[in-house]
Amino acid sequence: MTWYIIRRFLQMIPVFFGATFLVYFLVFSLPGDPIQALFGDRPVNEAVAAQLREQYNLDEPFLVQYFLYLKNLVTFNLGNDFSGRPVAEVLVQIFPVTIRLAILALIFEAVFGIIFGVVAGLRKGKLFDGTVLVASLIVIAIPIFVLGFVMQFVVGVKLGWAKPTVGGDAGWLDLILPAIVLGLVSFAYVLRLTRTSIIENMHADYVRTATAKGLSRQRVVVVHILRNSMIPVVTFLGADLGALMGGAIVTEGIFNVPGVGQRLYQSVLRGEGPTIVSIVSVLVMVYILANLLVDVLYAWLDPRIRYA
């Protein structure tokens, strides 16, 4: 098991370098000279510009820039963004918000997706199953920003149950509505995955054995069917944590949540290379670590899987 984790850890390294390099490459071939943009309409002061270029290593060749960046990343010296704030400070400010948002969304989709999926799966072919299936397809088919607008309008403005826009300091309670919108599509996927998985396992030999041993229906369902059905669901949830954090751009935009997505979008529009790459690097790390965690959870969930 330890060896397995170490091996997976080593496999993560090229993915991390690849992804950061890809983003760095794309970002630093962005159009426009960011230093020039800083001066706006005023004439560029060459001395200041040169100093700024040196500070951000923009005068070095591309590959050198990338390695200097990596060196700084390893030493947690992330430098300043173009308005002079340390990137690390920006990250500390925006990441907690998005992590809260993603965790709430993950809890929402996991709890409701698994409950609905299990009930639908156990009652395959009944009315409840059919209704839930159709509803989940409709949720997948509607773009997230339409869902966001409608929820914001109905729940936030018409009913007044939640703040339509979050703004300033985003607490847990304010983030519930955006989190539901963010998690809705994944909720539909979790539901369908759980349902399929339950139906598949209901007819497995070990379930028949458990029933034949005289175990109660409840125990068969919870201990034998549910535990084994959770394997694909856990995979999905693990991969989804990263996707939720990176995919929060639209939701954060609609509900005005001051998180990673909003900041990232602004940084791309401004061409703030260092900020973009720092944010994306952290996102990629979250994604890779979540996947590693999933692989470890596998072994615990499925006794057939043992890593040498």
Partner: protein, 318 residues
């Protein structure tokens, strides 16, 4: 070989005292077994889900090809600001946009862009992801590892995030049209198809018919193309069908963020995006294009679901 029986056997499991024993396992031996696809087709014809989604998709494709058949109102002319955010009147069943254009007509003409993006992004992902996935699965070894890591790199970037960065590149920023959106979605859509293809190829690679073909002197690439790929297409097609719907949603999302199709291209995403300002006063300008988009996406997802049920013999038994 048992004597061929002439009478028709209604039940394979017959009461033993009435029927000679060999009749029970005498299952029409002269009939050619149906191929996976023929059997799937026999199943599909009876499925309401398949019939509904196919009819819808045919209709949508027809609308995209011949929008003029469905509406007499040209979408961008006769936009009168006097009609701004107007309610439905005879001849304009869905009312007017903020600019006073006919909503129904814009939806009809917007079909083309959305569908083009969906279809070509899916084809692009199929070609790139399918080729790389098949090579990785069939040849294995270091090629497999390299392609898997490459896929992981693209997988680690969420679609919208990657698309935002790509759409800002000089080439994409200056030539913003349907094809740049197609390229962007392809770049981030291929790893999933590659993974599925790789898995399917792996499960077929060592099948007896492949060994047989190889021992008859068929070269490895030929065995891959002629025997392995045709037999591992089923799961790939299912995923590709569902992805087509998801790409259409992604295009709308990009257009909503202002980095997808340019505003002068009529598409559902652009219409939804420009309707958001009048959501509170006139929600129908947002809801109609959203409904058109959702119905289209839903048809493709339903078709994918129906195909999965028909092509997966394991699922069919239950």
């Amino acid at each position: 070989m048992p004597e061929k029986r002439t009478e028709k056997i209604e039940h394979y499991v017959a009461p033993l005292d009435e029927t000679p024993l060999h009749a029970t396992d005498n299952v029409a031996e002269d009939v050619q077994p149906l191929s996976l696809w023929a059997e799937a087709w026999r199943n599909l014809r009876k499925q309401p889900l398949f019939i509904i989604s196919t009819i819808l998709i045919v209709l949508i494709v027809f609308v995209a090809l011949f929008p003029g058949v469905f509406t007499q109102t040209p979408p961008n002319q006769n936009c009168l600001l006097a009609n701004s955010d107007g309610d439905p009147v005879p001849g304009h069943p869905m009312g007017f946009t903020l600019q006073g254009c006919d909503v129904f007509s814009r939806i009809i003409y917007g079909t083309q862009a959305s569908l083009t993006v969906g279809i070509f992004a899916t084809l692009g992902a199929l070609i790139i992801g399918g080729t790389l996935g098949a090579i990785a699965g069939f040849y294995g070894g270091w090629l497999d590892s390299v392609i898997a890591r490459l896929g992981d790199v693209f997988f680690a970037l969420p679609l919208i995030l990657g698309a935002i960065i790509i759409m800002q590149l000089p080439f994409f920023r200056e030539n913003r049209n349907v094809w740049t959106v197609v390229i962007t979605l392809t770049v981030f859509g291929w790893p999933q198809i590659a993974r599925i293809t790789r898995g399917a190829v792996l499960s077929v690679r060592n099948a007896d018919f492949v060994t047989a073909a190889r021992s008859l002197g068929v070269s490895r690439p030929a065995a891959l193309v002629r025997h392995v790929i045709p037999n591992s297409l089923a799961p790939v097609i299912v995923v590709a069908t569902v992805n087509l719907g998801i790409f259409i949603v992604a295009e709308a999302t990009l257009s909503f963020l202002g980095i997808g199709l340019p505003p002068d291209v009529m598409s559902w995403g652009n219409d939804i995006s420009s309707a958001q300002v009048s959501l509170r006063s006139n929600p129908s300008t947002l809801l109609w294009p959203a409904a058109a988009l959702s119905v289209t996406v839903l048809s493709f997802i339903m078709l994918g679901d129906a195909l999965r049920d028909a092509l997966d013999p394991k699922a069919r038994k239950r």
